[in-house]
Subunit: 192 residues, 4 copies
DNA sequence: GATGAATGAGCATTCATTCAT
DNA sequence: CATGAATGAATGCTCATTCAT
């Protein structure tokens, strides 16, 4: 028995749809309530304003992201396995909840420096964990002496590249692309 | 003898400053003319609207980007040299004209799919050239058989990562970071 | 118990008053809302723009005009009676709802040919009916063989003259004027 | 040898063209100078503002009107001849200089009562003369005892009707229409 | 004379927010 | 709980007018 959606859920969904479709700034509250098929007063019953609806959407995303990373990336994994898991998870979460991921991405561009830093904080722990994985791998002799942050950078960067290429050119990434990327990061491109 | 700036130049500068400071949507034309110290009519003498001022700024950026890439990255370069030149140039252009670079980046998030594709086109030639460089390098036996697009992806991705880290956390990249990144792409992280 | 006027009614009235007083073009929406004592948003809740408020006023006028003509002019009337009824009705409607009548008149001068033709269409049926009355009167031998359209022309023309004289010189027409005019149309000015 | 048009003449012509095409209010000074192919300063050298350009156009029209009436309508004429001449002249002047005639007509609708009266004054002398012709005709026994103003009214009204029908429906009047109208005014429509 | 860059008052329109029902 | 009429500050844009060259 599919539970009937509450007005609040309808509004959140409408906000997500419209923010993604037309951008945050260009979406009006009138748009949202029309999409959610409810009155203006109802919007203000559940949300203080557009920003606060956005904040709730972002919370949802952060929760999902955390769950997925916890489930898939462990410090006990081998290097190749870990790299693959991290890249795969990042890509999957951003794609599976694509609209939320994009939304977060778009939104934070228009914030001032302080808000921008704040918006990073729920993501940071995972990046720190990742860095620690590589730091650890260096001390174990699994990888060469390289600033571990730059390894993280390549993974994040590759994620960004694949998503952007998909977003802008509608060219989705394949399993082979991930494999290739992990291969480059592990072994480099140069012929031995 | 410092040439007196024209009203149009003042407006372009004001637009750039403010778009970067407060975002495109939140910058009003009143803001721009106050910053440029001129009347409202003057704005509309030179620009049809805010979008058209933005478009001129973007043209400026594309021109600068093209010039820098042409000057610094040549197909005759060796692999290491090329990777370093590409990464350095990308980073420098985006940073030197940082506000323009960021602006372009921010702005395109709020466009529909078609405009998004269009906004890519002036950048594409350089990405294609880069891919061709790697394709060529494979046939010469300089690098292993890897989809050259994924190599491009790592360079673009790394650029993005360094800029974002700077933008969001105010942690600028160093020459060592670039060296590290080139090293990883060439030789991989794994111990031999 | 005088029913309270709705905001929309107040706006329509204010529009009518002001269009007549200062002309359509010179009346601003600020004028209208000040006159109607309501906020700017309220105007845009009920009307898309000034033109659409005007269109509603014109509809009102056309409805009133139709009702009056239907009530007062019948094909069964004798010639003198019909001429008097037509002239009287036209004059009364335009005067009773004087401001609306004048307004329509003023407004249509500034329209392009197509809109001008369109603006005629709700009036045309009554002119056609009138022409048919005279056509019929000719075949019955009541009036001489004269292009019936020219008879209609004289009635419309006389209406226009009386209204303009009133409007411009503040010299209203009298019952005697109507009688005279009907007399001329029936019997001519020449001595027998 | 066709003299080259002066800038002022070009501006007057442009004003006339555009006022007629788009109405007085909707014509901007920018439109006018573009049409006349001259600079903005030049407009203000010759005219104080749009109204003063209009006033010059109206003067032109009044002069033409006066000349034509003086040439064609004389108190020595017989009744039929006079009626025909008056109607013909009015129609011809308004049509021949159609745009000027229409323009005057359109413009005066948007004036306040005082300006409206003022705008009548250059026309009034001819209407007064006409009334005097009929007053005189009554005393000579040429026409019946009828308020002469109402006869004038029918002539002016018929003029208006023919011009409006042409303007709105693009149905121009014929010589037969004029003949008919004169016939009605002289002899009435009723069968003897 | 002729020009057009610069101006800003004025106007239409949008949209977040409030509040009585 | 839910609604939507009412609001007005904020914003984009137009256009008559001025004035230095």
């Amino acid at each position: 028995m599919p539970k009937r959606k509450t007005k609040k859920e309808l509004l959140l969904e409408a906000g997500l749809d419209l923010f993604c479709e037309k951008g945050f700034e260009k979406t009006t509250i009138d748009d949202i309530i029309a999409h959610a098929d409810c009155g203006k007063g109802t919007f203000y019953r559940y949300f203080e304003n557009k920003d606060s609806l956005y904040a709730e959407l972002e919370n949802e995303f952060n929760t999902l992201f955390r769950q997925e990373v916890n489930k898939n990336c462990h410090s006990s994994m081998g290097l190749k396995q870990y790299l693959t898991a991290a890249l795969t998870t990042f890509l999957r979460v951003f794609r599976q909840y694509q609209r939320l991921g994009m939304l977060r991405f778009m939104r934070e561009q228009s914030l001032g420096p302080d808000l921008r830093k704040a918006s990073l904080s729920p993501i940071m722990p995972y990046l720190v964990e990742m860095r620690d994985y590589f730091k650890n791998a260096i001390s174990k002799g699994l990888i060469r002496h390289i600033n571990p942050e730059n390894v993280v950078g390549l993974i994040i960067g590759a994620t960004h590249f694949f998503l952007m290429r998909d977003f802008k050119l509608e060219l989705p990434y394949s399993a082979k692309d991930i494999e290739d990327t992990v291969d480059i990061i592990m072994n480099g491109v140069a012929t031995p």
